[in-house]
Assembly symmetry: C2
Homo-oligomer: 209 residues x 2
DNA sequence: ATATTTTTGTGATTTTTTTCACAACACTAT
DNA sequence: ATAGTGTTGTGAAAAAAATCACAAAAATAT
């Protein structure tokens, strides 16, 4: 699978934007490798997988490379996403919206089962969960973020999937089951921390997890 | 490397606690596999790597298994961690502390360069960044979370590392360089979302990222 | 007792991912 | 022109991870 390659492509893109901002016109595979924490071969192999080419001896022109990568990753239009759950994580994501905007991601609404939390006047409105399915269908939303308590996540997912959601970022530490129509990515910050703590206590001195 | 195995062990642990709560006394490798989204062989291979054994035909006794896993993952005492940056992410993490507590992780303080944000009376105090190094040394803190703007992350990391931090969860989308004495785990929510969006737009119908 | 069934534990195999290593090329200097 | 140098692009090799597949063991049934 080229899943990892795709993921790295996003990371290269990021590094390239940095380089560009710093005024670089050309980069070499080892510049990117350093910036991103992989080997130069890895960088070249990744590019090779998508037939991105540079100049032997001349490296890659930052602009061309960015253009190529952007074409592959296809990020031109803003993607509208919704958040379900307005607890700590949900609210943090909403507030972080500016950060997402830089990557062409826009949180357009949040939903909560506790309808007393509804707030339609907010820049990013918080709406009753019952309205979610219609909202998804009407606006053609494709991506949703699940930031609800564990017990509610499966149900939320099913409603989302039925309404046509195609991708989900799930913060609940459970495996979402059913409808194999959506791409799912689980994010679990406590798990991430537990891993770090494990290696620290194991006396691991340096590693990227 | 057994990095992935360790990570899965944490996930199995989680699932086992669920099973236990539901009253299960025994589990089979395929129960765990289902719960966690891997193959039964994978589960057994993982256990095998740490010489955890069950009963042929009888599966694994939930309690024994949990005990074994906990012994390997070594999580008995609470790990005290600090957060640097009291922006959206930092504050969200602080508020999420209850969630971490379930996993024996406790955020004991936050730090911010903007000393006007200081708040010593909070349950989790927010302190001026200048006090961080001493705090780390005095309390013997091993793990820190970097939730500051990109530009500040490297500096924060260096101060942390010098003060003795051994593990870092980094929310800034940059490669932290230098002092190879700390385990580093990068978390990038925008990147995660970008990946999801990529697969959604690529028409990928079902996948776990 | 014996046969049958179920599930583990693991060596062998396959698949995936990364690294190596070097020819091909392009640029520079002489 | 020619030699020298630095960097790509990519097959080949190595390493890492996942899956297969099946004998061995344990429980149950006959």
């Amino acid at each position: 699978m080229i899943k990892r390659t795709i993921n790295r492509l996003f990371i290269y893109k990021n590094a390239l934007n940095h380089f560009k901002k710093l005024g670089f016109v050309k980069v070499f595979s080892d510049n990117l490798a350093d910036a991103v924490g992989v080997t130069p071969s890895q960088v070249r192999k990744d590019f090779s997988a998508f037939a991105i080419s540079g100049n032997r001896r001349g490296g890659y022109r930052v602009n061309d490379l960015l253009e190529n990568i952007n074409k592959i990753l296809g990020k031109n239009k803003v993607e509208e996403v919704i958040v379900v759950g307005s607890g700590n994580i949900g609210r943090a994501l909403i507030r972080y919206n500016e950060g997402f905007m830089k990557e062409n991601i826009k949180i357009v609404a949040a939903f909560d089962t506790d309808s007393s939390k509804a707030d339609r006047d907010n820049a990013i409105p918080i709406l009753p969960f019952e309205e979610m399915a219609d909202f998804i269908r009407e606006k053609g939303i494709k991506v949703g973020i699940i930031a609800v308590p564990d017990g509610a996540a499966q149900h939320v997912f099913e409603v989302m999937a039925n309404a046509g959601i195609k991708g989900v970022m799930n913060f609940a530490p459970i495996m979402l089951k059913g409808t194999p129509t959506a791409v799912i990515s689980n994010v679990n910050l406590a798990l991430e921390l537990e891993n770090i703590i494990y290696y620290v206590n194991a006396g691991e001195s340096a590693a990227y997890l």
